[in-house]
Each structure stands twice: as structure tokens, then as C-alpha cells.
């Protein structure tokens, strides 16, 4: 004889509570007798017997929640009567099952409660009302480390990583809970752009801990901006590069006149060309003529670049930035002037995109406006050369037997010796000086 099972008493019913037994073990059962009362999601209904016989066993205790189809009682010929003992065992198992399905009803409450959980390091504990600010991810997410291999990244970091072919698994996240954010990917991209042979330290390693020296009362620790951290790391890398310096004095008499002439004709357009723009353009022209200088040290190879992209070092409040004038050899002086000014403006307002700061093949650093006579610039890896430009200075010179005042500028080329030897670099610098001294050739 089959067991009596929990019937489906309504369309939406998934389980029923056997609220009360109406027949006891040992009772004689007739088809149609009410065995028990079942409470469903809709109503309390009778559980009727479909067979005649003796009620041999209650399989669940009164009050148990029983899923549809599970047996609740056994009707037989009276030869296997089981009282008491079996009944309590069954409901326990059934109750466990019920608990598994129950949570959805409760789900809202635990979420709300998660925010102010004491374990959470989140500083959201506000004086009143748990939900005044939206909860940060739940407690477990905050405290437990991400399972191995599972990446915690921002969508933006994933997107940028995808676009630049960065494997996010190789990056250490510095965001909340170790999340990889845009900062981390940007740092990785800059690292990738630098000398491949030098293993890049993890981004975390370059960010100094503010606690380090804060004990000293007579000093103040200034937190390092992202720009400064990257600058520091890259310049440190640059010191591992064997390099040398070449200095030339440029007679800029004609260059200054030329600039005045150009600006006169550009005045109507509202554009102005600076001496620095002339240096950018002249360097680009010289680089095009000396492809061996427009190069970088790659992984065991010297990489000569097809494009001449000249970076211009810009001092900002946050640190040094080097926006890049791409294809500078193919742009007019006016175009370079406009672009450089726009890039410098963006650099100072923090609006430069990563694309505007990468891809340089040569860099110009100009401290002339600060009255520096001459200086040596640190290489901007992986580029093979950087040109340091000093201030225009009047020097006495003898021309046709007469003492005259001559405006000059000292320029110093720093060279990656792995890429270039002295003679090759000198030839480049000589041609550059000639261009600057015969400025019409700059625009030809």
C-alpha cells in the first residue's frame, strides 16, 4: 500500500504545513476520512485518505513543513505499527529542507543589516539610521581575500586593460579590497611602455607608505601624487641606462628674428609661435633625417620608429607630464604651436588622456623660461634621446673685427648609449644646430 503523500492543494503551493493529525496511529481508516489538516499558502485544507486500512505510522510530526510529494503517513494492514520514535526523526530532515527554501522572504533584512556590521572596515558608521549612505559591498566581500585567480577590477580598468592588451592578472590592485582601478592599469601601461628589459616593480611598490617617516615632528610627509610616483619610478629606471651628454651653443640671432617674422604674419590668425615650438619642429625635422636617433632600446633590439613623436615636458602642480606632439615632422609650425599649447593646458588641468602621453619617440625639456643657462635632462625611457634647452643669453662675439652682442642658447642632448654612439649622436646634434641657425630650413 502506498504512503500518504503531501498533495498539491493549490496551484502555487510548494509545500504544506501538516498542522494537525486527525487520525492517530492504530486508527482504522476509511477512504475519504480526514487524516490531517494541511495549511498551505492559501488556506487550511483536509488531507483525505484514498485507501482503507490501519494508520500504521506518522512519518512527520504535527507542525512540520512538507514539500509536495513527500510521504507523511503510512497506511497498511496494521502489522507494522510504529508509534512515536520514527515521527520526530522525519520532521527534522524536512524542516532542514524547508529552511533552504525559506531565505528569500528574509533576504531584504540581512542586506540592510550588512552595512553597519562591526566587522566592516567601512567608515560608513553614521550616528543614526543604518541606510543613510548606500552600503558598500557586503561584509564578506570586504574582509575575505579574493579567491585565487579571481580578479577584482573596476569595469573601467577592464576596458582600458582590454584596449591596451594588459593582462589584469599581472597587476596588483591598490583600490578598496585590492580592486584594480584605472590608476593601476594606467601605471601598468606606462610601465609597459618603458624599457621592456627592466622588470617593472608592482605599482604598489612605488607608492611610498605615508606612515614611513611621519614620526619626525619637524618634517611633514607630503603624499605622493600618482604622477609623481610614476615619474619617480621611471626616472629611477632611467638611471640604469648608460648615457652620455653632448652640449652645443646655438646662435639664435636668426631664429629670434624668424620667430618675430612668423608671429607677425600669424598675428591675424591669433596664433603665436614660441621658441620652444621652433625647437620641437627643428628636432622633428632632424629626427626624420636621422632615423637612428628616432629609436629606442627594446628587448634586445634597437627599435627605429616610423613616426616622429616629440614629447614636451610640462611642469604641473602635481608633477612633470610629457604630452606628445605626434608626427611633429609632418605638422606645420603653426599646428605644432596650437597643439602644444592645448596639450600643456590639458596637462595643467589634469585633462590629458593616456593616449596624449604615450608613444613619444624623443623628448624636449625647456627650462629657458626659468633662466637656466644649461642643464642635462634625464632620459625618458625607452626613448634614446632627450634635448635640454637653456635660456637665451646674450654673449659678446667678434664679427668682422667688431665686438657684437649675440643671442645664444645652450642645448644639451642626453643619449642612451646602448642605442647610439657618440659620433652618430654628434652628427644629429650638428644638423639640429644648423637647422636652428638657418631657421628657414625648419619650415622647408
Amino acid at each position: 500500500m502506498p504512503d500518504v503523500i503531501m498533495p498539491r492543494l493549490s496551484d502555487t503551493m510548494e509545500e504544506g504545513e501538516l498542522s494537525r493529525w486527525m487520525k492517530q496511529v492504530g486508527d482504522e481508516i476509511h477512504k475519504g476520512d480526514v487524516l490531517a489538516e494541511i495549511e498551505t499558502d492559501k488556506a487550511t485544507m483536509d488531507l483525505e485518505a484514498f485507501d482503507n486500512g490501519i494508520l500504521e505510522q506518522h512519518l512527520v510530526a504535527a507542525g512540520a513543513l512538507v514539500p509536495i510529494g513527500e510521504p507523511v503517513a503510512r497506511i497498511g494492514d496494521g502489522s507494522n505499527i510504529v508509534t512515536g520514535s520514527a515521527a520526530p526523526a522525519a520532521p527534522t530532515a524536512v524542516a532542514d529542507k524547508a529552511a533552504v527554501v525559506a531565505p528569500p522572504a528574509d533576504a531584504a533584512a540581512p542586506v540592510a543589516a550588512a552595512a553597519p556590521a562591526p566587522a566592516a572596515p567601512a567608515p560608513t558608521a553614521t550616528p543614526t539610521g543604518e541606510l543613510r549612505t548606500s552600503p558598500t559591498p557586503t561584509g564578506e566581500l570586504r574582509t575575505s581575500p579574493a579567491p585565487t585567480g579571481e580578479l577584482r577590477t573596476s569595469p573601467l580598468a577592464r576596458k582600458i586593460g582590454r584596449e591596451h592588451g594588459i593582462d589584469l592578472h599581472t597587476i596588483a590592485g591598490t583600490g578598496p579590497q585590492g580592486r584594480i582601478t584605472r590608476t593601476d592599469v594606467d601605471t601598468a601601461i606606462l610601465a609597459q611602455a618603458s624599457v621592456a628589459a627592466v622588470p617593472a616593480p608592482t605599482p604598489a611598490a612605488v607608492v611610498p607608505t605615508s606612515a614611513a617617516a611621519s614620526a619626525a615632528a619637524d618634517s611633514v610627509d607630503v603624499p605622493v601624487s600618482r604622477i609623481r610616483a610614476v615619474t619617480a619610478r621611471r626616472l629611477t629606471e632611467s638611471q640604469a641606462v648608460p648615457h652620455f651628454f653632448l652640449t652645443s651653443v646655438v646662435n639664435v640671432e636668426r631664429l629670434v628674428d624668424f620667430r618675430a617674422e612668423v608671429n607677425e604674419s600669424l598675428a591675424a590668425l591669433g596664433t603665436k609661435v614660441s621658441l620652444n615650438d621652433l625647437f620641437v619642429r627643428a628636432s622633428a625635422v632632424a629626427l626624420r633625417a636621422h632615423p637612428e636617433v628616432n629609436a629606442s632600446w627594446g628587448d634586445g633590439v634597437i627599435r627605429r620608429h616610423h613616426h616622429v613623436n616629440v614629447g614636451v615636458a610640462v611642469a604641473t602642480d602635481d608633477g612633470l607630464l610629457v604630452p606628445v606632439v605626434t608626427d611633429a615632422d609632418q605638422k606645420s609650425l603653426g599646428a605644432i604651436a596650437v597643439e602644444t599649447r592645448a596639450l600643456a593646458g590639458l596637462a595643467r588641468t589634469g585633462g590629458l588622456s593616456l593616449g596624449q602621453m604615450t608613444g613619444g619617440t624623443f623628448t624636449i625639456s625647456n627650462l629657458g623660461m626659468f633662466g637656466i643657462d644649461s642643464f642635462t635632462a634625464v632620459l625618458n625611457p625607452p626613448e634614446a634621446g632627450i634635448l635640454a634647452i637653456g635660456a637665451a643669453t646674450d654673449v659678446p662675439a667678434v664679427r668682422d673685427g667688431v665686438l657684437v652682442s649675440l643671442p645664444t642658447v645652450k642645448i644639451t642632448l642626453t643619449v642612451d648609449h646602448r642605442v647610439l654612439d657618440g659620433a652618430v649622436a654628434a652628427a644629429f646634434l650638428r644638423d639640429l644646430v644648423t637647422l636652428l641657425e638657418e631657421p628657414l630650413r625648419i619650415v622647408l
Partner: protein, 340 residues
């Protein structure tokens, strides 16, 4: 370059901007009339209608009995017949008495009658806490109306917007819920002279920035700007988007801003759960997921009926300090000591 004549501006209060706009519309369109409790002889609980009964008479400025359902219904009927009523409900809290007229009738008629009628009805009402008016008189129920298709809901944050949006609301052929805020009535700002008509459904970037976007509206925008300028001094570049219109919602402007900044915090005076911020968050998640560098966070009122006691009330309302703290959290910047 400046062929367009830039209108002269005057610095006036939000209250004055509303008063002048009502006056201008009463003068220029005989179909416009005002109705509400105590708006005539008493000149309005918040003096928005000062001087209007005297100048336009009781046919244009109607003192209604204390029966919100009645006078909103009357205005609705007048609107169906072509009038342009501007209803004042003393505060948004009392609009609940009239909610059937607003939600079941004003919002539905154009659609249910197949466009045979339009409802050029404006319902002005202030919301907001902070005045020790206790729980039932201090609510921000904007989502109740922003949820309803068929309504337009605007919430200006400045005197200039109060003028331009109220003008637009009165001239709009659909019912417009015009949300004011008790703490904004005395706020001053420059207001251009002459007719100014805002486009309902356009948000405004009221401050540009590159690091994070704060989205807010009404009173919240003034706090957001205050925080943005304060953080600017610390080197953070914060953009502030003032929604101006809660329905229709200008999702494009929100998404364009977050696309640029990668970070967003919503500052709202309503309660967190199911609030304006929830909708903004979802909009950002759906629109610019790939540009998010951190989860969108919300700063809202504590989930309690607003307490009457001053200290408790202040603690329950979202503050500038709360906003600054959450902005720093989103940007993963540790707080400065003076920020508690």
C-alpha cells in the same frame, strides 16, 4: 562673437523669483489663475504669492478651503476646460490627501481620453526637512511623483531655474509637479531679466570636473557645489550635475559626465531605499558600466521618520560632511582629520 544680447541680471531670492514669475504669467495669460490654502489674504504660508490677490483680485487668486483633494480636483477640471491653474499645496506632505486626483486623474487623462484633453496644470509645493517641523511635515516625497508616467516633475535649485522652470511648467500642456524646498526660499542668486523658459527634462552641469560626478537636485545641489568647491581646494576635481527635472530624467547628461569621470555619488534628500539615487545608479550602471572605476554610492536621509529634536534632525539629514566622506571613499582617499 556676442551678437546675442545677454540679458541683464538681478540678484534676488528664490521666493522672489517665484513671485515675479507668477505675477508675469498672471499678467500675460488670462487663463492662468492661482488656487491654494491661504495664498490670497495671507499671501501664502511662505509668502510666495505676496501682493498677488491685491493686484489680480479674487477671480485670479483663489483662497481654497483646507481640502486638498477638493481644490486640486477643481483645478484639474478647470485645466481640462482650457484654463492654466497653478495650485499651491502648502507642503508636499499634504499632497497625499490629493494623490488620487494627481496620480489617477491628472496623470492619466491625456492617455485615457486618447489625447482629447490635455491637463495644463501646475502643482507647486515645497518639501524638505531641517525646519523642526517633525516627521509628517518634513518629507521628501519626490519619488512618489517622479515614478508616475503622465506627470512631469521639476525641482529647481537656483532662483534662475525657479523662474525658468516655473515659466516652462505653466506653459506646458501636461501636468507638472513643481517641487520647491523650504530651505531654498531665501537663497539668493542671479536671475536674468525678461522671459526665460527652461526646457523641462534637461539637467545642467553646474560645475565641471574630471575626477568624480556628484548628481543632485534642489537643495542637494547647493550642498554638492559647496562640497565640490571644498574638495577642489584639496586637489580633487568634482563635477556637479543638477538634475533640475526628475521626470523626464536627463539620462544622457548623467551618463556623459560619469563617462568622463568614472566615479559617481548621488546626493539626495529623500530616503535611500527606492529613492532618486536608486534610479540614477541604475541609469549609470546600464549606461556607462564600462566607464565605472568604482561602485556608484548614494548619500541620503537616514531611514527613519524625521525626528523633531534639533540634534537628531540634523543627524538624520544628509550633510555636506557625509557627502565629502563618501566622495573620498569612492576615490579611495583617506579622510583629513578635520573631516570627522
Amino acid at each position: 562673437m556676442t551678437d546675442k544680447v545677454v540679458p541683464a541680471t538681478r540678484t534676488i531670492t528664490y521666493r522672489q523669483a517665484l513671485n515675479e514669475t507668477l505675477r508675469y504669467e498672471l499678467e500675460h495669460d488670462e487663463k492662468v489663475f492661482l488656487i491654494g490654502e491661504e495664498i490670497g489674504v495671507f499671501e501664502g504660508s511662505y509668502k510666495i504669492t505676496a501682493g498677488l490677490l491685491e493686484d489680480f483680485g479674487p477671480d485670479r487668486v483663489l483662497d481654497a478651503p483646507i481640502a486638498e483633494e477638493g481644490f486640486v480636483g477643481a483645478a484639474l477640471g478647470a485645466a481640462m476646460l482650457g484654463m492654466r491653474p497653478v495650485v499651491e499645496i502648502m507642503t508636499i506632505n499634504f499632497s497625499l490627501i490629493a494623490i488620487d486626483q494627481i496620480v489617477n486623474h491628472a496623470a492619466k487623462m491625456r492617455s485615457m481620453f486618447a489625447g482629447q484633453v490635455s491637463i495644463p496644470l501646475v502643482i507647486r509645493m515645497p518639501g524638505g526637512g531641517g525646519q523642526q517641523l517633525a516627521a509628517t511635515h518634513s518629507q521628501n516625497l519626490e519619488v512618489w511623483y517622479a515614478h508616475i508616467p503622465g506627470l512631469k516633475v521639476v525641482a529647481p535649485s537656483t532662483p534662475a531655474d525657479a523662474k525658468a522652470l516655473l515659466t516652462a511648467a505653466i506653459r506646458d500642456d501636461d501636468p507638472v509637479i513643481f517641487l520647491e524646498n523650504l530651505s531654498l526660499y531665501s537663497a539668493k542668486g542671479e536671475v536674468p531679466d525678461g522671459e526665460q523658459i527652461a526646457e523641462i527634462g534637461k539637467a545642467a552641469v553646474v560645475k565641471t570636473g574630471t575626477d568624480l560626478t556628484i548628481v543632485s537636485y534642489s537643495r542637494g545641489t547647493t550642498t554638492a557645489l559647496e562640497v565640490a568647491h571644498q574638495l577642489e581646494a584639496e586637489g580633487l576635481s568634482i563635477e556637479v550635475v543638477d538634475l533640475r527635472s526628475l521626470r523626464p530624467l536627463d539620462r544622457d547628461t548623467i551618463c556623459a559626465s560619469v563617462r568622463k569621470t568614472g566615479h559617481a555619488v548621488v546626493f539626495e534628500d529623500d530616503w535611500l531605499s527606492y529613492g532618486i539615487g536608486a534610479e540614477i545608479s541604475a541609469t549609470i550602471g546600464e549606461g556607462v558600466f564600462d566607464f565605472l572605476d568604482a561602485p556608484v554610492r548614494r548619500v541620503a536621509a537616514a531611514e527613519v521618520p524625521l525626528p523633531y529634536a534639533k540634534a537628531l534632525e540634523r543627524a538624520a539629514l544628509p550633510s555636506a560632511a557625509d557627502l565629502a566622506r563618501v566622495v573620498r571613499e569612492v576615490l579611495n582617499i583617506s579622510s583629513t582629520p578635520n573631516d570627522k
